[in-house]
Amino acid sequence: MSGETPTYIGFEEYSKHVPASIPAAVQQATSRFVNERAARVAEMPDWEQLRQNGSDIRLHTIENLDVYLTRFETAVLAAGGYVHWASTAEEARGIVVQIAKDHNVKTAVKSKSMATEEIGLNSALEAAGIQAIETDLGEFIIQLAGTGPSHIIVPAVHLKKEEIAALFSEKLGIDAPTDPLELARIARETLREKFLSAEMGISGANFLVAETGTLVIVTNEGNGRLCTTIPDLHVAVVGIDKVIPDWESLTVFLKLLARSATGQKISTYTQFITGPRRAEGEFGPKEFHLVLLDNGRSRVLKDPIGREVFKCIRCGACANVCPVYKNVGGFAYGWFISGPIGAILSPQILDTQVARELPFASTLCGACVDVCPVKIPIPTILRHLRRRVAQGDEFAGPSMPIAIKATAALTALALGWSWVYRLGSRLLLLINPFFRHDGWLSGMPYPLSRWTKVRPLPPFTARFREWWQKHVSRDGNEISR
């Protein structure tokens, strides 16, 4: 699953095959992050104001995106970097592979990047004979295992230390103990050699500062620093949604990001990179390339409700509190990004029909909105996308089953005209005698059997409006007739 763009995401099917160990491990991680986040937020008296700032600035940037991207490009060029624009994932892969070939690259070290996962860069590089090595410990482990991430921050959290030791023993040809600290040390030594010999470093970016053309990269392990400091060539692949206006805005996002993600006050390393190195003895890349990835984002901007997804700063807080995500983990979401944010991003980038199950993979409980550092109205976008999936939109035709469409149309009719509703509820009374057992309705025919097999229904009474008038209208609520 690391790589190819999916043609259909079968969330329901995937979620049936999730091993029981995954929710257990994922919940350990999420509950730790939730608690740590809560502790950090409690220390910040102006947290709500910061969130509002974050939300306002991200929205403002999206609404003026052409201006800030143009400004950013000009500044990168002025700093001596190269800027490449990629409309599609294929174009982006082609650009990176070409840069690698032009520099005779045999090995590339990679710092964790969602954009390169999105475009499936690793397989493209391998096809061109270039070894691409993930260097974040979790990413390194899942690359060896050949699986996808189960969590955005701790991608290999579903693997036990014994499994990782077996993996290291098999793939690295060494006798690996089951001690996490020892396993980390082995990974450090293995990867250190790669950092020193690789000809190219590949990264993403957390933010692009338009004011000065600066790339902001946040890591805890330091692999991001090594990838962008040791090799002579640095290529960054970044979505066009990552730009922010200026350094003043950056103060807000750096305060929000780590606190929301891992519950740290700030991540261990934050780098601010503007162009290639200036002096010979300084270290850092001689050549700096930036690939700005569209891949459907400019199309998504057309939808004023859906585009708020681009406010996202990829902290993962929404997944950590999501009751659905906590029970299925990252794999079920079928692409590089999981949890509530994945459920609103994938359908928009891929196509609502390709990821049509994802907007429904939610209870709409709203826990995600409460923790989102940039106040993305996730449930609103989920409902909006459900409507787009059901009714079709300008990007794809409708393809709901006829039966569901007919039911939806009839429901709309019944709820729209009260006499139809009244007539319908009277007619339902006629059903009661056929299925009534011990005061409950059960054993009803398909499709109602899907419900009654699990639990019986109370008999229909057609008294709701009467009940409502008696109980509720007293409080002054008007009832339309």
């Binding site: 700032n53 003026n64 990782i164 020193l196 620093r225 066009i240 103060t251 601010f272 990179i273």
Partner: protein, 210 residues
């Protein structure tokens, strides 16, 4: 020259090249600094919470501090930024006197990677988060704070800044800036906290009074 990505964005947003940019929303005001002593205490407290070692030293106590650092971390090879301040503190000479081999900070990367210790200054201290800010230049190579197992930062209270706003106002035109907050860490294997994943495992900060 038309850029299809920019063109598509404008089309989707209903903008043209001439549409003006709306004013950027306002941002809450920066944190106000406390007295220097309180800021230093706050910084030291944060360092401790991050498993870094922070100490206040007078120039006279440097010799003793180097002696214990070299012994405790078994330092055999070291590399030092060639800045005026570190030269003035005679960092290189002190290390050599303790039997440590000095490698040039401009040495080839494999050689530098063999160093047990890298010594740098810091341009900025952010006490609230326990953060050090380092710019780079020809005298201040980026790899010195990154490749060795132990990173020693020698800094004066002059580097204190109350909030990110002040740091960014001063540093935004620098080609490179890195914030370092504690030693390199990961929790990627069964959420086990692990220090020294790819960067230094030991971070020592000596605040030297002027």
């Amino acid at each position: 020259m038309t850029n299809p990505v920019i063109e598509n964005i404008r089309l989707s947003l209903g903008r043209t090249a001439k549409t003006p940019v709306s004013p950027r929303p306002d941002i809450i005001s920066p944190r106000q600094p406390e007295p220097v002593e309180a800021e230093i205490q706050r910084f030291l407290k944060e360092l401790k919470a991050l498993s870094a070692v922070g100490q206040r030293l007078s120039p006279d106590s440097l010799a003793e501090a180097f002696k214990s650092l070299v012994a405790e971390q078994k330092i055999r090879k070291a590399t030092v930024w060639e800045t005026a301040y570190l030269k003035q503190l005679q960092v290189g000479d002190r290390l050599r006197a303790l039997g440590v081999d000095l490698i040039s900070p401009h040495a080839e990367k494999h050689l530098l990677a063999q160093c047990d210790l890298g010594v740098t200054e810091a341009d900025f201290i952010l006490p609230e988060t326990g953060t050090l800010g380092l710019r780079s230049s020809a005298e201040k190579p980026r790899a010195v704070s990154l490749l060795p197992h132990t990173h020693l930062v020698i800094v004066t209270p002059d580097a204190l800044r109350a909030d990110l706003h002040q740091v960014f106002a001063e540093a935004k035109d620098s080609p490179y800036l890195v914030f370092i907050t504690g030693p390199s860490r990961t929790s990627d294997i069964e959420l086990t906290p692990t220090l020294g994943m790819h960067g230094p495992k030991y971070l020592c900060v000596w605040i030297v009074d002027l």
